[in-house]
């Protein structure tokens, strides 16, 4: 019964949804101080390549590779965030777009390290490593009536689910803390925030580095879920895709990009024949959203209304 329900293909799609949700959260953090970044594909790539190279060439454990990949992306984010701090809106977007392309070209040209345009294959797979670990404890897939590949997909999905929930919980907490208030004040009016004694340099760089780190983390997970990465995975298209999660879903509340990522990743899988037109649809979506609902599908007001309704129900 259970065995029939667990279809590795569905689990794979769900896993990609979770990774994209993490990417959606990463762009949300940067946007929550009003900084528009198109460099998140680059940060994602740094995390992915760093973790792939560390685990494959230097035989580090997966955990070390992923954590180092995320931290490295965060450090690069810090280095990009400080000089681009003076840039706003479209200028920052162009600067970060340039950064993303530089990173991609580096992946292509540093052939000794990255294997160039061919990409890196047979990267250690999270699921296989996990199942191997379980087997060492004497646990086998057949013990719960599953095939090995089912258990692999299931373990990947469950692990990603836990990680995603932890990340979401962390950033919800942060949004409601003084850091979150500082982010919101900077987004609304930088000058006013400054007059209130908010150190805007610190908080803007913090948001940028956090976003970069989370994107790098998602990239590292991506590398160990697909087991194959190439520079094309981290191109301009990816940067736009990440941004669309936030634009479509909304960037005012964290649920916006989460919904955007989930919906836009699931849609092409459900409507197979649409997949080819994916980027065309994204383009149309961008134009339509900007014209009719520039704040995205889920905004502050919607969350407020939902809360009010729940309160009312609770009273009656």
């Amino acid at each position: 019964m259970l065995a029939e329900l667990i279809n590795p293909y569905y689990l794979q799609v769900l896993s990609f949804i979770l990774i994209n949700i993490i990417l959606g959260v990463s762009i949300y953090i940067t946007l929550s101080t009003g900084q528009l970044s198109l460099g998140h594909a680059g940060f994602m790539g740094i995390g992915a390549y760093a973790s792939a190279i560390l685990t494959l060439d230097y035989h580090m454990p997966l955990v070390v590779g992923i954590v180092v990949g995320a931290i490295l992306a965060g450090i690069v984010g810090l280095c990009i965030g400080i000089p681009t701090l003076r840039l706003q809106g479209v200028y920052l977007a162009i600067a970060t777009l340039g950064f993303g392309e530089v990173i991609r070209v580096l992946f292509i040209n540093l052939e000794g390290l990255t294997k160039g345009a061919v990409g890196i294959s047979s990267i250690p797979h999270i699921g296989r490593e996990l199942v191997k670990g379980l087997q060492d404890f004497g646990f086998k897939a057949s013990m719960i009536g599953l095939k090995n590949n089912q258990l692999i997909s299931l373990s990947v999905f469950l692990l990603l689910l836990i990680i995603t929930l932890l990340i979401i919980a962390f950033f919800i907490r942060q949004t409601n803390s003084r850091v979150g208030r500082a982010f919101a004040a900077i987004k609304m009016d930088e000058r006013a925030a400054e007059a209130m004694g908010v150190n805007i340099t610190y908080y803007k760089v913090l948001a940028f580095a956090q976003g970069a780190m989370v994107a790098g983390f998602a990239g590292a997970l991506f590398a160990h879920v697909t087991a194959y990465i190439s520079p094309a995975d981290f191109s301009y298209h990816r940067a736009v895709e990440i941004l669309i999660f936030a634009i479509f879903g909304g960037s005012e509340v964290i649920w916006g990009p989460i919904f955007g990522a989930a919906f836009l990743t699931a849609m092409p899988e459900i409507l197979r024949e649409v997949n080819e037109y994916r980027y065309m649809i994204y383009g149309v979506l961008l134009v339509v959203m900007m014209a009719f609902r520039p704040q995205g599908l889920i905004d502050t007001q919607m969350i407020y209304k939902l809360k009010q309704r729940r309160k009312k129900k609770g009273v009656s």
């Binding site: 003084r178 208030r181 500082a182 919101a184 004040a185 609304m188 009016d189 000058r191 006013a192 925030a193 400054e194 007059a195 209130m196 004694g197 908010v198 150190n199 340099t201 502050t300």
Partner: protein
């Protein structure tokens, strides 16, 4: 308490302040008067750390604070109520007030919140309303209340009467006097020269970036050339 010595501030190549010197004694209200473009706001921004003077010296509470950032100035006890109020329009009145206490980590923030809402009853009434939906006068009160939430020793007010109805202007000036009576030193920039001189102890007159006159407010109120230029007949 505050002593500004010969500061020169530039916007690119344009010199906006020329050797401006201002003294604000503890417990007083000092006002800076001048026409549009005289450099009043530039002076305030230079003091609060929003602009960096190219040379000159600013001392606050006996320490050299030249070139400090706005958040460092605030933590030393200097709060600015910026020109145009700078309300966070997407946050509620209460959240705006809490942002005023952003740097504070003591437990008396709640108590102070009650205090400023006692001083500005309208803010208590509207506390869950979004800042952007308040009227001009209410926004000005919110802006002053928010600055008070940081427990400033010196309060900088940049044209608090701008764009407000005469009756509300009266209110604002009364409140400024009350705040001063409670022990906060005030540096006030105003276009409304007569009102400002009436409540101030000391006044400076700026013209094209230079201090052209200074003295006790009462004296300036009766100075013929000031009457001519700023007060009308």
């Amino acid at each position: 308490m505050l002593s500004v010595k010969n500061i020169n501030t530039y916007y690119g190549n344009i010199q906006a302040l020329k050797n401006v010197s201002i003294d604000v004694p503890e417990g007083s209200i000092v006002t800076i008067l001048g026409a549009n473009g005289a450099g009043k706001t530039t002076t305030m921004k230079s003091i609060a750390g929003l602009l960096k003077p190219r040379d000159g010296k600013i001392e606050f509470l006996g320490q050299d604070v030249t070139g400090k950032t706005p958040d460092q100035m605030l933590s030393r006890g200097l709060a600015l109520v910026p020109e145009g109020r700078a309300i966070l329009s997407g946050m509620s009145v209460l959240e705006n007030l809490e942002m005023g206490a952003f740097q504070r980590r003591d437990k008396e923030v709640k108590q102070d919140l009650e205090k400023v809402m006692d001083r500005f009853p309208i803010l208590r009434e509207r506390r869950s309303q979004l800042g952007g939906t308040l009227s001009g006068g209410q926004q000005q009160m919110l802006s002053i209340a928010r600055a008070l939430m940081s427990r400033p020793k010196l309060l900088l007010l940049d044209e608090p009467s701008m764009g407000l109805a005469p009756l509300i202007v009266q209110d604002i000036f009364r409140i400024i006097q009350e705040i001063n009576a409670d022990g906060t030193t005030v540096l006030l920039v105003e276009q409304n020269a007569r009102q400002a001189l009436k409540i101030a102890h000391h006044a400076y007159v700026l013209e094209t970036g230079k201090v052209v006159k200074s003295g006790p407010a009462q004296e300036l109120l009766h100075d013929p050339s000031i009457k001519e230029a700023y007060l009308g007949h």
